[in-house]
């Protein structure tokens, strides 16, 4: 890891999977069991899970965990924060796999799952952060997901894979321009409000 690249060399995500079911433990453990997490550092406690590694794997794994839980048909949500380049961060607790290909694509290929998602981008330490956010929100309109404004966030509706692609690309684009970027997201599937 060179100092020039270190700000963007790894991405983290702190997230929690929420199955609204008495069987929440089984749903979480079964989803984790189906997902290849060998490409990142990972730690779970009673509040959340943290993964740290290459950006491609962080998005691949969060998407796969959500999809394997949602395919149970239960109302499932995931809330979390993606982060990159925090100047206070260390390079401890990171695994940078040599692998560049996402490992979970083949197992989720057949899962078609609609969801609603709200996300917000926070480019840190920049006076013109609003412009950096707006450039990305405009871009999201071209990715096969329905985009709508809400207070404090942008809403995306569509297939889960299209939603995660939008999150990933928006985050990637902003972090190329700004060293420290945070993105919050909440994604929800199978809500009885939609049935």
């Amino acid at each position: 890891m060179t100092s020039n690249n270190s700000k963007n060399s790894f991405v983290g995500c702190e997230f929690t999977l929420y199955p609204m079911s008495d069987n929440f433990v089984d749903i979480i453990l079964s989803a984790l069991d189906e997902v290849d997490t060998s490409t990142v550092w990972m730690e779970t406690d009673d509040v959340s899970t943290c993964i740290r590694g290459k950006m491609v794997h962080v998005y691949d794994i969060t998407q796969a965990i959500f999809l394997h839980a949602a395919k149970t048909g239960k109302h499932v949500a995931m809330s979390g924060t993606f982060g990159v380049g925090c100047p206070c961060d260390t390079t401890d607790d990171v695994f940078l796999s040599e692998e560049d290909e996402p490992k979970n694509i083949s197992k989720i290929k057949e899962i078609n799952q609609k969801a609603g998602c709200k996300f917000a981008l926070y480019p840190m330490g920049e006076k013109d952060y609003i412009e950096k956010i707006q450039e990305q929100v405009n871009l999201s309109k071209h990715r096969g997901v329905e985009v709508s404004p809400t207070h404090y966030a942008t809403r995306l509706d569509g297939d889960v894979k299209d939603i995660f692609k939008t999150l990933h690309e928006s985050f990637d684009q902003v972090q190329q321009a700004v060293s420290h970027v945070t993105m919050t997201f909440t994604i929800s599937a199978n809500s009885p409000s939609n049935q």
Copy 2:
């Protein structure tokens, strides 16, 4: 609302309550039923709930909703984002109650509930944002909650009322110094990991 004060005149919170139970709908509706939300503007969709009003009421209501859900004994979590002073925000969808006293204190007084919480403060548009965060994280050590560092967040453990007091005071202190501030949080109670 004068233009001088408008940046701090109302606070919003976008949050979701997650009861890990087959009875999640009942738990959410019962909690809402016990909480006086008349002091804020409020809207719920299938992904999250947004409330906007005076800071004191926004913290009072989120705390009360979480406590009334957690007292069922079910594993319950809440994730969300508090925000103030976004330069893109409007004063639409806000209710500024004339009331200054939190309305839900008496009904939660008897609820003693332990929880774990992770939160992160994001002062926007400031080059010295790291210092602004660290000042607050140091302060939290004096509020009767156990404070520990984690990746991307600070962890608080203790009674739910002490945790919300810490969140509220930290947010308030930073927003007095920085016009646009965001705070993410995830709070979790009755997790089987702790039993």
